[in-house]
Symmetry: D4
Subunit: 166 residues, 8 copies
């Protein structure tokens, strides 16, 4: 496992076919200048690797874990059960059911072990990163300002697009 | 973990609230005289207990594992990823979604790690036990005969009920 | 709006009929000793009250906002769009659709404004509080220990119940 | 915000990617000669802009507001909560769930604040405009006649197509 | 058909078993002092009665038609195809599918003939009446004021309930 | 309406965009030599044309009516309510919901007026024609033989394809 | 199998727990004076009994087969594949999925073997019998008149209920 | 039917259009060196062929039957009702409903006759073969070792892909 000093957010996914979706999270983290890592591990095909990662993340200094998975998406829940860090789940549309399977497998966690579930797909991946930023910004004033700018920019973007409409 | 000699089938569930459903499996196993055990372990609330169970089941002599779980039902998949035994999953209707969440979380396993999924609820629990019997009967002629009797009885039962209808 | 000093978590809901569900979150927060408040405000029936709350929460010292809502559950998203704090959404089963409407209205947020969505109903309310604790524990070692105890207790609870089964 | 005199219908959407769908509404409004405007504003990314629009629409002389939105489509409900004008919602198929998320987020409004929901997508956008015409025609005899002609033409169109079939 | 002078809103339903739901609409109309009628007619079991009603409603002075129906809920669409008045549909949960059948049968109208669809069940019935009021208030200042009071009261109600919570 | 002598089956559809699907029914009817007609009429856009057709079909000698429609598919139910002939419905996948809307709108008819619903799309259109043949064959021995041949051919076809597999 | 002379309609079901639903069909058949039989046979638990029934029904003089089944409702399709008679399927709500499983298992028949599917549950059972009557009435003028009376009575019933409303 | 000596697994499908999916199962069986056959038979279009196959499979020495089918997927259940061998079902996405119809038709088997259901589509086909291997490995140590290697390779594959990511 890639051990960089100062990593704050781990972006984990179950298959490299999830990368085009999870890149959206990575790009936001880059935009906000958050040190992060990208990890591949499967709840089912590499359970030990998943356990090691989950068990060691906190002591490696990671603060938030973002997990993308499709189908019977167990990865976020399995990681959440082995760490006390906040885990954010991104359901991925990887089967013929439009991601409903991944959504329900991620969000319907039984009481005790939460997964903070985002929307299915790219919007969810982007929002996972922003949620991580919101959490980190609780003790980082610089980040909070960047977040305010980001939000302000979204509103300005809409006004700009309105002008192009007219 | 209850270690009886000769246990062939483990009936595992994530919560004792699943017991009224999984009892249906236990009753069938009793009816067929299959040595079995009933275990409580959660994918999320007791991940280490789950891993120990899954990792040791085969060497303890268990041949088939039946797993009942509701909501984001990860337990069957998590066990299946840590044993080479056939794992049979019973989705349980434990939330407001009628068991659709448990069904999709159990059945939509990604390629590599199969869970033999049964119907939601009691019918599924009964069938899980019968599927275990079908598997064990492959090398047990006595069991195969009992299975044939069981099936023949179901047909006779229908004819009896027909008579009551008339 | 009830302004207590030191409130860290706001538990917000759209209707007092949501209280039996959201009480589950409140109880967990009490168990962990987290200063909190319970607020009633509706995205649709009291939009100004909702905006004031969302706009002022951060400066009042609130760190995490938990929002429960049913039907076309807009409340979490509407609050999330007016604060930079992490917002956790609990979909409530308040219509004939089993909470699927509330789940999709809460989780399918478009890119830019995340809502950390939990399971539908009581399990989700409990997990919302635990997610809040996980976030707060990032900078509170005492809380992290309580969290570890909580998790350890869940595992012990299962072993105790196993004994009762046997 | 584009302030034209005499605007009767506002066609509002959350993202410029919704324009190809909402154009269908605009075209019908043009066909019926209804003065209208096209506005871009998001419930989540520009909440203040949305509030200003909703709060001022009635006094600007707008009579009906048509709102298109996808995913967790909160825009129509949020606008409806800040105006007494009739609001017509068009759910847009913008995610992997075929628009079911947008439909439920738009239609399942809690009691008190209605959104007149149309079909998902282009048919819904067309019908939103015709519904606006039906409302405006209540006090405009000329419009009622155009509406009657429009309906009569649909029936004639079918007879014409029948001839081409034969 | 009950022909009262001055009726502005018809509340139509396909079966008298829908009355407990549609009463919610009637009560709101009474609260706002809107002259209304309650009619029973089925798209399938009394098609001619339905056609007569739909064809004559406008000339009888009716301004808005509210239609409640369950199962394959065709009634709102069938009426909308035979009048130029705005038709508001209330899907009713009358089968084992939780009203999803009635919702889709009501809302997914093809382009040309709109039905302004409300939420499934009682909330939808209430909102149908309020939508009717919103439409009628476009040319009735007294009604608009009542509507503003109604909305203001909802917000006050929430503040009152907050006090009871504390 | 095309009035041919001896027409036994009417194939009706709500839009000419349904023709590629309904052609499958027409082809089967041709294959069995059943005199038939193809009609375009909409429940909503041409309600009078639909009523005339439904009301006169029986006296024109038609025996079975096949109806294809998509979205809020009311056409089959509306026709069934105005004739005593057997009506067979084919739900068409014409929206973003995969035909689930058309299926539920067609099949969930309230007690009293049945629509014999087939599968969504081409398989359903084919089966609608075969169902019509099964009904007509009740009093036509020649047709029954053709039907037996048709069924026998399907089985032979499978054996032929098996040979190609090997 | 109960072999009465002159039986025209077989009402078949997979389990005696389906009887309360299928009674609705039987009652309608009695009302119309159609000679009928009630049979219990399961696609899965008594496959041979099912095959014998399906294979012999036509030569026993049966004209229409009504089949009720729940869960993975294969019975109607399995019977339809072994007879050339029209088979009418009634999906029964027998699991936690509200009958959606039975509906899809009954209606989504592949091309070649149709099942005329009715609504889920009691309304569907009633309509199955009326559909059988519609088919039999094609060559029975007396039955057609009864059918016309039945339909006329439904309309009168609505007018009577209207009077009670006023 | 292709009668090879020593066949252990039958891969059965209802249509040759299912072959591209079921090839995934065949390839895994080849990889593990399991003697197998590929058979085409339909529950509905060739019911006798299906019965002969199911009835004779066990005495031909087959140990496990894998069945792929789409739409109202009855084939696995029908076969399971006529053999005491374990039957594994693969739902195939063959209609506009994304395979949900095939999944429910396969998995929701009533108590008594189990079908071990896999995920929809290719992942399910692969897993069906692996489940067959897990069952056969219960009495074949060589196979168990291959299975362990297979699982170990999946984990290694992930580590390899991780390196390519970095």
């Amino acid at each position: 496992m890639k051990k960089e000093t100062g990593i704050l957010v781990s972006v984990v996914m179950g298959s490299d076919s999830d990368l085009p979706i999870m890149k959206e999270a990575v790009n936001i983290l880059k935009e906000f200048g958050i040190p992060h890592e990208v990890l591949l591990t499967s709840a089912h095909r590499s359970p030990e690797r998943t356990s090691s990662f989950a068990g060691e993340a906190a002591e490696r200094g990671v603060k938030v874990i973002i997990v993308g998975a499709g189908a019977a998406a167990h990865l976020a829940g399995v990681i959440a059960s082995q760490t006390h860090l906040p885990v954010i789940g991104v359901p991925i549309d990887a089967t013929s059911l439009g991601g409903l399977d991944a959504l329900l497998s991620t969000v319907q966690m039984p009481g005790g072990i939460p997964v903070a579930t985002m929307a299915i797909g790219k919007a969810g991946a982007r929002n996972a990163a922003i949620m991580a930023v919101r959490i980190l910004a609780l003790k980082d004033d610089g980040l909070r300002e960047k977040l305010n700018d980001y939000v302000a920019n979204m509103a300005k973007e809409i006004e700009k697009k309105q002008k192009n409409l007219n």
